[in-house]
Each structure stands twice: as structure tokens, then as C-alpha cells.
Symmetry: C2
Subunit: 421 residues, 2 copies
Amino acid sequence: MQRILSAQLSEHVHEKVAIAGWIHRRRLLKSVAFLIVRDAAGLSQVVVTDPATRAQLEQLAEESVVEVTAVVTANPQAPNGVELTGPQVRELSAVGVPLPFELHRPTLTAGLPAQLDHAALALRHPSRAATLRIAAAATAGFRKALEAQRFVEIQTPKIVGSATESGSSVFRLDYFGRPGYLAQSPQFYKQLMVGVFERVFEVGPVFRAEPSDTARHLAQYTSLDAEMGFIADHRDVMAALTLVVRGMLAEVTARTGHRTPEVPAEVPAVHFTEALRIAGAPPDEPDLAPAHERALGEWARREHGSEFVFVTGYPMRKRPFYTHPDPGRPAYSNGFDLLFRGLEIVTGGQRLHRYEDYVAALSAAGEPVEAYRGYLDGFLYGMPPHGGWAIGLERFVARLTGLANVREVTAFPRDLHRIAP
Amino acid sequence: MQRILSAQLSEHVHEKVAIAGWIHRRRLLKSVAFLIVRDAAGLSQVVVTDPATRAQLEQLAEESVVEVTAVVTANPQAPNGVELTGPQVRELSAVGVPLPFELHRPTLTAGLPAQLDHAALALRHPSRAATLRIAAAATAGFRKALEAQRFVEIQTPKIVGSATESGSSVFRLDYFGRPGYLAQSPQFYKQLMVGVFERVFEVGPVFRAEPSDTARHLAQYTSLDAEMGFIADHRDVMAALTLVVRGMLAEVTARTGHRTPEVPAEVPAVHFTEALRIAGAPPDEPDLAPAHERALGEWARREHGSEFVFVTGYPMRKRPFYTHPDPGRPAYSNGFDLLFRGLEIVTGGQRLHRYEDYVAALSAAGEPVEAYRGYLDGFLYGMPPHGGWAIGLERFVARLTGLANVREVTAFPRDLHRIAP
């Protein structure tokens, strides 16, 4: 018999059907037993009165995998108004050990370390699985919104030959006997690919060996990168990004039903100098601290009714060498961050596009041009004005779901202390 | 003036428009000059008669980036029946060095090593860009076909704590002072996630430190992975894969116009023992050599009119420890390969799903169970019968386009000798 899903049961009242899934919970009462079976679509209630089946159930612990053949019976008290009666239960995979924590309660009571140690089990809890579905929907929405704007998907190397790009630490590896490094971002490659497709995006892992043991740092995270050519300046990038964030949220709601905030037609944008003033920070601060970002988030909600706010014009000295300066105020950049509910979730901006400007910027930064040879090649051979951004998927989903720790929205997180499972 | 694309010119005859792109070619004739501008959508022809603009063009080398404002004029001899006349040319980025090779000829005359050394330039050639568009379309088709079958996208760790899974070599790295390894596949993680979503897929980089210097090996490639639970055996996996390959090819044709072969309703499938016979190999061969795969490809085309053929039932001793045996012939497996035009492009099969079977298989392979602790956890806590596959994106696209070397369909390949650009 062809298996159906729990969500399809109500279309089959009075019919004999087969379902399959995990034993989410057993309730062995005196005269009747209830079996709750969990599948990818939800839960089903099975009513057991037959003594042989009840005896079988007594041996089948929670999380055992079973196939249940039974009749669909209407019962307004049951989940979705239906339950399964007169079941035959076939064991597909039995659990023979105690579970480290229970999965059938509305929330997982196990602490985060225990959940991460037993991720394969913890992720089965509907609340954990739901956040990963949101991440998948957000990623699909990212691609969809970009493809609608002519962006082409690329795949770029995660092993690179020089540890360049930023001050933060990189993972070193042995590449066939010579040093290699894990890419901290697809930055250089996506810029080079603007020379090929004008507009490109990549969804992929990036690696940071920063020894930051916080609720928002991971050693590997998923970066949603895009880069676009033929822009006037960073504001064209912000306009494209606004459409993309709106598309991501729309896809989350469409696929998961999760309520998402509105993205205003024009997301409020404040210059860095103004952001310092709003946040009550001294005017000579070189960057925004987390408390400043929170203050800006509150300001945007209060003054503009927006959960999102752009901060533009960060000081050049705090942005990477490839950042394009503001032509009118060269100490400030055409770089921006997008804050979502008071947390930076996107960094972007306009980049340099002329070879001579790269040589000058690297020289000013005291960096050897030779280490950037493959990267600079594209700029020797003609590149249009361009810019782009990177969204941290885990931070985005954590902010959207209100979860405090990015580890709660990552299936198998990697951090300073954790390399397994 | 808002820029339009080359492909939109014919909608604007008699109008003044702005286009932008790279100088693909200049033809400086005696009384007139032709400028061919390349953008993401194709080529435009610009006719220059004005002496000042001609003098400007003489200084602007191929691949310089320009914006051209001009009038769209019908000319049946010009590409797409239109050309641009009376142009004003604005330089966005000038090229000041000779190009290492020309881009304006129908095929790239530079050898592959030169193309790879200057990938940022070579990929701009329409033939190279076209194969990467095919790769992007195939990837999009992969996701679309899987989402239509309820598969959920996942992201899994690329850094792992033990060098397990297969005999081939792994890249070692320093993970915060302890040993780490680059994942050779998402195999274990996608299996664990069957316990969460039943059906999952991942598109991501995998890493192989195999010192194989061939036309079909890369140190990093893009793996299109899927895994599905509640199967009867490997044939359910083959049926799902058949739909996916058909969806990939349909998306390639829809997005790029590239002609793709038909995937039969039922792709021919031969057992390994039969495959040896067809290929004329001795019956005690443990695996198929490339020549055998080619012979099978010819057989499938000749006997079944199919560019695709499944080989099932590979010997257990040649498949990884997690492979499910054929219950009727335990020396053979429920593992399969899919050959496309005589080359293996997909490996898949049914996996073990019971904890005891894993312990026995690891013990038989002489492997310590402890190294697989995080992986085995999922099987301790109940897993359904399941299976899946991995498609090598670069091999798939190379086979589809008839290109001999996977490096020709990879933007920035990594191999034994190459770690840059």
C-alpha cells in the first residue's frame, strides 16, 4: 500500500491507509493506547485497543520508526479532526537505548550544549526543524529575487593560495604539500565574475578562524553573496538588496507560514556620522558597537516604523581596502551595513573598479600587490563600477525567529570548541 | 539616461538610448569605425563617423568598459537588425596593457593553461560564459525538481573532526589547534537529516586530496546531493533521480536554449554482472573501468536509444561501508551508478539504516566505531530505510556540452597543481 502523509489523512476518511514515521509519543492508558506518529508533514494519532498491538507498542520506544496501516476515522477531538483506528504496526527501525532528552514536549527542555551534542536527535524536534525550514525558504527567496534581477549563480573556490582580504584569522591547510587557506568570503571571485555576467550571486560556506566565543559567531557559516556591475554608486546596491530581503521574507511566509516584518519601499538610511549622533556615541568613534546598533534599531522602529535600517558612509579606515570612497568625503566610504532589529546582518558597498586605485589602496595599506595578482588581473582588463553585499544566513534567521544564538538555527554548528558531530 | 541591454535595442528603433559594456572589438576602417560592445545579453554594433569619437576609440583598447549614448538605427546587415549611430562614448574603465589573448574570435585560441592563468579574462569569452550559465541552470533545475518532490535544502559542515568515510585522501587543516579535515562529501550529514525532514538535498563544495591529474578530477567540485527516507530499496532512489535529471536538462534548455538529450521514462538499468558481460570484461572484475563505462554507454544508445544507463548491484567490497547489501545476493549491493554518455556522473544507492548493521559493517571493515560516534547517533535513535545520490556538477556539464576537461566548465578550478587564481 502506498504510504500517505499525516497532512493528507483528512482526505481519506473511512479508507484504509498506510502512514510511516517516528513514534513521537506513546500514551499507554488502561483500556486504550494512543500512538502519536511524526512524519515530515506533522503528527498523526493512532488509537490502539487490540491487545497484541498494544503489547507490540509496549516494546517500541519513542523515536522507533514504524509503518502503520489503519482506517482513517473522523474525531473532532483529534489533531486535524481525524485519527487512525484498528492499526497494524510494522517496525522499520527500533530504538533500544534511552533517549538523552525527550522530543514530545512543546519545547525542548535540554540545554543547547546537549542539543548540539545530539544534533541528529534534537533537530527532529518540530521547533528546531521549523527554523531550518525557515533558513531553506530564505535561501530560496534570495535566489528567486536575484534571478528575477538577472543575477547568475556561481560557484567559487573555498581553498585559496594566500591569506589576504581582511585582518581576521584564516584556517590554514596542507594543499598537496604547500600552504592553502580556507576562503573567508567569495569577495574577490564574485567581483571578477562581474566581468563575465555583470550580476552574480553565490550561496556557500565561508570560514572564519576568529576565536570569538559569542552567540553570533560561527567558524563556518552560510554566506548569501551578490555582486552587480554598472552601478552609479552604493545606493543602486542598496535598492537591489532591499528587493532581495523583501523576496526572502515573502518566501519564508509563503513556505512556512512564519510571520515576517514588512520591508518599507524605502528602507531608512542614515550616514555613519548621523548614526553616531542617534546612538549617543562620541563623534570620533571609528565604528558602531553592538549597543549602538541596538539604539539605531530602536530609532528606526520609533521614527520610521521599520525593522530595518541602513547605515552608510562608514569611515574608510574601518572598511577593507577594496572599498570605494565617497567621492565627496574621501575619509568616508560608499560602504553600508543593513541592521535588522538592531543587529548587523548584511555588509555591502561599492568597490574600487580601476586597477590603479587597487594598486594605490594596497600600497597605502602596506600590502604587497603580488599576493593579489590573480585578483587584480580582472581589474587590469576592464571592470565596470560595481558593488555588492553578503548576508549572514544564520544571523538573518536568528533575528527573524527571535532566537538569541546562531547555533540554534544551524544544523551542525562549528565554533571555537566544536568540530563534531 | 537609463541603460538598456543589447538584446533590447530592437525595441527602441529611432530612439536615443544608452548601452554599456566591454569593447569586444574595434574595426577602424578608412572612412568609418565599428565598435562592438559586449554586455551580459550579447553584442551591439556602434557605427562611428565623427572624427573626435574615432580619435577617442583609437585610444580605448579591447575590454575597456564604456557607456555609449546613441540612436538605434535599423540595418538588416547588423546583428539583430539594428546598430547604434551618432554615438557619444564615455570611458568607465580603460585597459592600459595588452591582453594575453584575444576574446573576439568565435573560439578562444589560447590553450587551457593560459585560460586558467587568466580565468577572469578567459571566462568573459561567450563560449566559456555559456558553459557556466548551463551549470547555473542545471543547478537551479536540480533544486526545482527536488522541491517539487518535498526535498528540503540543508547546509552542512565542510570541516569535520575525523578523516573517515572513504579511502581517498583528505585535506588536513589546523582547527583552533587541533586536527580538522575538509569534508569529502555531506554523506553522513544528509543521512542524519533524513531523520529530520525525510528528504533533503544540498548543493555545495566537496574536497578531494586525491593526487589524480586527469581531465575529470578536481580537488574541489560542486556536489549535488540528495537523500530520501521511507524507500523500499534503491529503485525508489533511481526513480526520484530520473525525475531530477530530467528536470535539470529541462531547465538548461529553458534558460539557455542548449539542446539536451531526452531522459527515457524508464532509464535502462543493468546489473553489474550483466554490465561486465556487455562490456566484454572478465566476470571476476570488481569494478568498471572507463573503457567498460564507454562500452555500456554505446550499448544503451544502440539498444535503448538512451544517453543514460543505470548500473546496479556493484559488489559490496567496492562500495563504502554504509552501503546496503542486496538482500537476495549479499555479495552485491543496492548501490548504483548513473552513466551519461559512457561516463559515471552519479553515484547512489540504498544505505544501511539500523545501528547494529553499522556496528557490524564498521567492525568488518576494521574501522573503530568511536570515530563515527556523531554519525551513528542518528541510527541509535531510529532511522527509516533510505538512500540517495551525489551528482558531480562539473562532470555533468562537461558531458552535456561535450567538453573533454572538467576544468573547462569550472570558473576557478583547483587541482594538484593549481591553487590560484
